[in-house]
Amino acid sequence: MDSNAFERLKYGSEHEIASLYQAYLSSFVKYIGKEFRCPPSKAEEIYPEAFSILYFNIKDEKLTTPLKSTLQTYLNSTGWNLYHRRNLDKYQRDKIESDPSELLPQVKNMVEEAFMQQERAHHVRELLDSIGEPCKTLLYQVYFNETSYKELALNMDIPEPTLRKRKFDCLGKLRRLIDERKLEL
């Protein structure tokens, strides 16, 4: 059942993902509510992010089968780490000892990595705004929408080799901005 859910999450249609999203919600809310004694609304608030973190780790093959536990446990643990990191102050964090991430240290890393990526996303968005068009659209299309060069070349009416060269030029501009702004790498 769970390996089936894993495959559905990894390769499934939007509809299948939405149905899994709905299926795991109830236990998640119950678990987070019990662990942190918080109202369901607080657990529901972090659920989309927890689900997204798990989804991308499966899709990007950072989390692969055989799993050490059920998907529901991974999801609950992701939520636990998210709640612990985001909603508690340091005093409360130190006080709570029953950290389930000791069982699943991989989950803690997944959450930490997501925090780092979200922080970088904020800066990268500003960098893309600064380099402007046409680089902004081109880099969004290639790296965010994952549009193929072939399709882009057709849509933009630019030959593929020119498009590739333009992309590398744009990345060069972006790196110069990273240097200028002294962003911590």
Partner: protein, 243 residues
């Protein structure tokens, strides 16, 4: 080594697509070449940021998904809602091909407007109309884009491109029948817009809730040509339409 090659290597490494030997060489380069190490960190920073954006976008999309309350008193209601939703989903699948709005929805899923061509700039008067049209297209001001494209003469060097964008602007403005006629005309012409126009002509028919037989007739040439750029999409559409 060429910088573009280095970037490709970094992307292969980070996405786990390297063999163990390639990985070993890559890591040796990283520790021995400071310049390459810096390039790696900078590109990883960018990729991390893009990944973070995807994560946020996906999370926001999920958050916008209506979910039933999960509190205990509402569990029965949740179950009932799920059953009703499942039944509705089943009904909608069964009658999908009969429902006009189903086809429109499908057309929306398949349709993608091209990006506006904003880089051409020669400073002539007729290019200023071209630019106005493209800028309006970029801002989804369809009526202004159509009006500007209409003013461009037939002998303009980019006339075919202009007509192609006009057809998309007509789609944006829900003038599907006119868009279909224009795409059909472009599909008959030699040149780079032939296959795209053929495909978009089919989508404009979908937007118009055209009967299955007519849709099938327009899909057939694309389905019968495995080299057609939209062949795989046509196969998927055929499946979705059950024709």
């Amino acid at each position: 080594m060429d910088e573009s090659l280095q970037i490709s290597r970094i992307e292969s490494y980070l996405s786990g697509q390297m063999s163990s030997e390639q990985k070993r060489l890559f890591e040796a380069d990283l520790s021995s070449n400071q310049e390459f190490h810096r390039l790696f960190l900078q590109h990883k920073y960018f990729l991390d940021g893009m990944h973070g954006m995807k994560l946020n976008a996906f999370s926001e999309k999920l958050a916008a998904t209506p979910i039933a309350s999960t509190t205990g008193s509402n569990r029965k209601f949740l179950l009932l809602t799920l059953v009703v939703m499942a039944i509705l989903a089943l009904i909608s699948i069964v009658y999908f091909s009969l429902l006009p709005s189903g086809k429109r929805q499908l057309a929306k899923q398949y349709y993608a407007a091209p990006l506006a061509e904003l880089q051409r700039s020669e400073g002539t008067a007729r290019d200023s109309i071209y630019r106005t049209g493209m800028q309006a297209f970029d801002q989804k001001d369809w009526q202004l884009a159509i009006a500007a494209f209409d003013k461009i003469d037939d002998d303009h060097p980019l006339h075919q491109q202009v007509q192609y964008y006009k057809a998309h602007a007509l789609i944006g403005d829900s003038q599907f029948s006119d868009a279909n006629a224009l795409f059909n005309m472009l599909a008959e012409l030699p040149g780079r817009y032939r296959q795209q126009s053929q495909w978009n002509s089919i989508l404009s028919l979908l937007f118009m809730n055209t009967p299955q037989e007519k849709l099938k007739a327009s899909l057939d040439p694309v389905l019968n040509d495995p080299t057609h750029f939209y062949h795989s999409k046509a196969l998927q559409l055929q499946k979705d339409l059950r024709i």
